[in-house]
């Protein structure tokens, strides 16, 4: 039997709408839309037209979907694309005036890119990303799953908040896709024993974990860009004799767990020997001081940024074809070996952050498209969706784990973030202390439904990650403290029923500012 390949892409951008534009805030969302989400969708719609199989499992964080669906974001995004196009045209003129034809050509390449993306977004997608997702899902090309409402790191969260995160993650999905979600993406693959019960209660049929959670052994290590250079003790998990080549039923529970295949994940992710580090690919870390565009290729990873050579898209495209062929070849070989080991139609699961493709790894979009084409043509392997997998026959006990550095909770819980967990816990208690009380006034009800939004925004794993890694730290801390202050203002006002005009006006303003889950 053929090996089956399950590609799982997880997409998330924190809530940034009306929370700063540039250099921190909405620009993160716009970059991911322009460089990743829209190019992927356009490719998949094309594959669908050509009668090919896409068969990708996509997870979207509810806060991301809400932002993609927001009228305000749609308008601002189009503005952003126009600005980028104009800016790259200005760069092109500048380089022509300097008689630098090579850089002028790259500038023109960017200008065309933004022009095309805008055309695709407005004409092909009608500014409606959700509609395109729905279409692809209905055609059986994508299987879309959900995750925690604001992408909270679940293993360390209090029970009530955990339940809310899962419940609202499901509700929002139903709102947008009109069906019940079957799968749940655990943010950062963060798992602990007991979380499956919350998933089962909400009707979920499956979830994903990292390899070592199933197989034991040494975790893969740092899966996310960044890292603060500290030594982390990497725990070695007891070898279980189980394999990610097959799905498992969680021990004594009626839910399926899929384990990520370490080989296919590393091939793409690893900074050291993954494809994105190839010398021909565009260098992510060096930007033009004039305009912010990236004009260079990786060249040589061990050399400093001032030694980078200009980027050549054609040359990069050749590498894309080679790397895609290599990857698919590898899948075929891995599949064959697994069959030899006794796995009948083995399962190979690759899990990635969606934004890796396009945003971090510029050529990743084309690479993925090549890979899909190659698999479509391969007689040995097939793409598969979770819903096509027959019920698991084997049981597994899953280790507490994540896909972060060290394999457990270190990236989100360490000396830098201990105080944040203290506040997250207090915020949860604050909300829970009022949750059960009947609010007789409309204002009280509105305040409480805003309070749970603020609570969930505090819980976003992003703030912990940024503080841990010292990336845009002040932005993260500012957001963290502001949502906490908003929550306290709301709960304090509700507790003492101090609803005056000032509060009413303020509430209206923050409902506008922190505006998601509007049906809540």
């Amino acid at each position: 039997m053929n090996a089956r390949i399950m590609m799982v892409l997880h997409s998330h951008i924190p809530y940034v709408k009306r929370q700063g534009k540039w250099p921190f805030g909405e620009v993160w969302l716009f970059e991911a839309m322009a460089e990743t989400y829209i190019p992927l969708l356009i490719n998949w719609l094309k594959l669908c037209d050509e009668g090919k199989e896409t068969h990708i499992t996509m997870s979207f964080s509810p806060v991301l979907l809400e932002q993609l669906n927001s009228k305000y974001i749609k308008q601002e995004f189009v503005k952003y694309l126009k600005e980028r196009e104009a800016m790259s045209r200005a760069d092109e003129r500048y380089y022509l005036s300097q008689s630098d034809r090579e850089f002028a050509r790259i500038a023109a390449y960017y200008a065309n890119f933004y022009r095309d993306i805008r055309r695709d977004y407005e004409m092909e997608l009608d500014r409606d990303v959700i509609q395109a997702l729905r279409f692809l899902q209905n055609r059986g090309q994508l299987e879309i799953i959900t995750t925690a409402a604001t992408h909270a790191y679940l293993p360390l969260l209090d029970r009530a908040s955990l339940e809310d995160q899962v419940y609202w993650g499901k509700r929002l999905y139903e709102q947008l896709f009109s069906i019940e979600p079957q799968g749940f993406w655990l943010p950062e693959c963060g798992y602990f024993q007991g979380i499956e019960d919350v998933l089962i209660e909400n009707g979920f049929k499956y979830f994903f974990v990292d390899s070592h959670a199933i197989e034991g052994g040494k975790p893969l290590g740092a899966m996310s860009p960044g890292g603060n250079g500290e030594e982390v003790e990497i725990e070695t998990f007891a070898a279980t004799g189980l394999s990610t080549y097959r799905p498992y039923r969680v021990e004594d529970r009626d839910i399926t767990v899929f384990g990520r295949n370490s080989m296919v994940s590393q091939q793409v992710w690893s900074a050291d020997y993954g494809y994105p580090g190839d010398e021909a690919y565009r260098e992510f870390h060096k930007s033009s001081e004039r305009s912010g565009f990236k004009y260079w290729r990786v060249t040589n990873r061990s050399q400093s940024l001032d030694k980078k050579q200009p980027y050549d898209p054609d040359r990069a495209q050749l590498k894309v074809k080679q790397h895609a062929a290599h990857f698919v070849q590898n899948l075929e070989n891995t599949g064959k070996r697994a069959v030899e080991m006794g796995f009948n139609s083995p399962l190979i699961i690759g899990c990635y952050d969606t934004e890796l493709f396009g945003h971090w790894w510029w050529e990743g979009i084309n690479w993925l498209n090549e890979v899909l084409n190659c698999i479509n043509n391969s007689p040995e392997i097939d793409l598969v969706l979770p819903s096509q997998i027959s019920p698991a026959t084997h049981e597994a006990r899953v280790f507490e784990s994540s896909w972060g550095m060290g394999g457990k909770h270190y990236v989100w819980e360490n000396a830098e973030t201990a105080w944040m967990w203290d506040i997250i816990r207090k915020a949860g208690e604050e909300y829970q202390s009022l949750k059960g009380l009947e609010q007789e006034t409309l204002m009280g009800q509105r305040a409480m439904s805003q309070a749970i939004k603020e609570l969930m925004l505090i819980q976003s794993s992003d703030w912990l990650f940024m503080v841990s890694n010292n990336l845009t730290r002040d932005y993260a801390m500012k957001r963290f403290f502001e949502h906490y202050t908003k929550l306290l203002r709301l709960t304090h006002t509700v507790r003492y029923q101090q609803f005056d005009d000032t509060f009413r006006d303020w509430l209206r303003r923050i409902q506008y500012e922190d505006d998601f889950f509007s049906y809540l």
């Binding site: 002040d474 500012k478 403290f481 306290l488």
Partner: protein
């Protein structure tokens, strides 16, 4: 006017001059009829709330401590301060202004002001860059970043001297027009009470030269001890009293032993207020040969006790002292010049008496707390007015 202040230091928790500053500013504001609430860390055996000199003092969180998890403690304190502020704001019916002192309370000040739409005033007493003569490691970088964002997000920033104003402009890029200079103040009444029984006895015939402050390199105590043999050559009865503690103490003691003047240099260690007053009472001259000094409150304190001062010609000290008019300035780090200045003031009684009078006059006229509280109120009014204007326009 209803004022909410956040401060890491407040008596009895005093590390640098910040605690004294907030203590004096708040009680003089209260004396002028303003409502002042201070939120500061918990101190063991002190009540969570009391009214002191008309000021509402609220203590929250855990007692302040320095150590490895200091940063973590600081942010937890900020969250507790926010919680208390939310409660108080409801209780007083809305504050008119939030005033944050230094980076340790930056996030409490910024969040509260933003979410409750109250104007924010920040006093930047010193900077991490200045304190460390540059930014050298990750934690200093983080503090520098927090200071910068506090300076940029406040409606107006108060600095204590021209020198600090320059520093805040240059380091953080805040426009000069958004900075207000209000010097720190001194209350001469706090320097009059003497101990019944001093911890150490100063001999009648001793000619006392004194220094007060933390024993850290930027204060120039090293140079002061180094110049002292020259002073003793001219005036064998001279004794140097060094009041205060700090990381450099051992090296400084060794230096005085190496110079063979250990019997003429007295390290008092931590010095209680009354003992300090006692030293000033007996001192012929007070010396503050700093290499970095954003303001230099100690010089004013000495002046308030009728003690002639010699200061390093640097930072805020240079602005307080008008050379040979109300004190003497020396080039920072110049040992010979420092020795000469001390000898002159020990020998020339007439000049010393003149500086006593003029120094005291300076304190009274420029650095009196009534004047400073008035000027601070002006800044509050300014931010409130411009906020109101913005609201009307919106």
């Amino acid at each position: 006017m209803k004022v909410l202040m956040f401060s890491w230091e407040y008596p009895p928790h005093m590390v640098g001059g910040l605690g004294q500053h907030v203590f004096d500013l708040s009680r003089f504001l209260a004396a002028q009829g303003e409502t002042v609430h201070i939120i500061t860390p918990h101190v063991d055996t002190y009540p969570d709330y009391w009214i002191e000199n008309g000021v509402h003092v609220h203590r929250v969180g855990l007692a302040a401590r320095e150590g490895e998890d200091f940063k973590s403690w600081t942010f937890t304190f900020n969250s507790e301060a926010i919680r208390e502020a939310v409660r108080l704001n409801g209780m007083v019916g809305g504050f008119d202004v939030v005033h944050a002192h230094d980076w340790l309370v930056a996030y409490a000040g910024r969040s509260l002001a933003k979410i409750f739409e109250i104007p924010l005033v920040a006093t930047i007493h010193a900077t991490e860059h200045g304190r460390n003569l540059g930014i050298h490691n990750r934690i200093q970088m983080e503090i520098n970043e927090i200071e910068k964002n506090l300076a940029l997000e406040s409606d107006l920033v108060i600095c204590c001297s021209n020198y600090m104003q320059e520093e805040v402009c240059n380091l953080f890029g805040r426009a000069r027009g958004d900075l207000r200079i209000i010097p720190n103040g001194v209350d001469p009444d706090l320097f009059t009470s003497l101990p019944d029984e001093p911890r150490f006895k100063i001999k009648e015939e001793d000619k006392v030269v004194c220094f007060m402050g933390r024993l850290v390199p930027e204060k120039g105590v090293w140079q002061l001890i180094e110049c002292f043999p020259q002073v003793l050559e001219k005036e064998p009865r001279a004794v140097l009293y060094i009041g205060g503690r700090g990381p450099q103490k051992m090296q400084l003691e060794k230096l005085s032993r190496d110079l063979g003047i250990a019997d003429r240099v007295i390290f008092t260690g931590f010095i209680a207020k009354q003992d300090r007053n006692y030293v000033y009472d007996r001192a012929k001259v007070a010396v503050f040969p700093s290499l970095y000094e954003p303001f230099g409150i100690v010089a004013l304190e000495a002046m308030a006790t009728y003690t002639p001062v010699i200061v390093g010609d640097v930072g805020g000290l240079a602005e307080i002292v008008d050379n040979r008019k109300n004190g003497v300035k020396v080039t920072p780090g110049n040992v010979d010049e420092l020795a000469q200045a001390i000898i002159e003031l020990l020998m020339d009684t007439e000049f010393a008496n003149h500086l006593q009078e003029t120094g005291y006059e300076t304190v009274k006229s420029v650095y009196g707390w009534n004047v400073i509280a008035q000027n601070t109120l002006e800044v509050y009014r300014e931010v409130i007015q411009s906020k109101n204007r913005l609201l009307v326009e919106a």
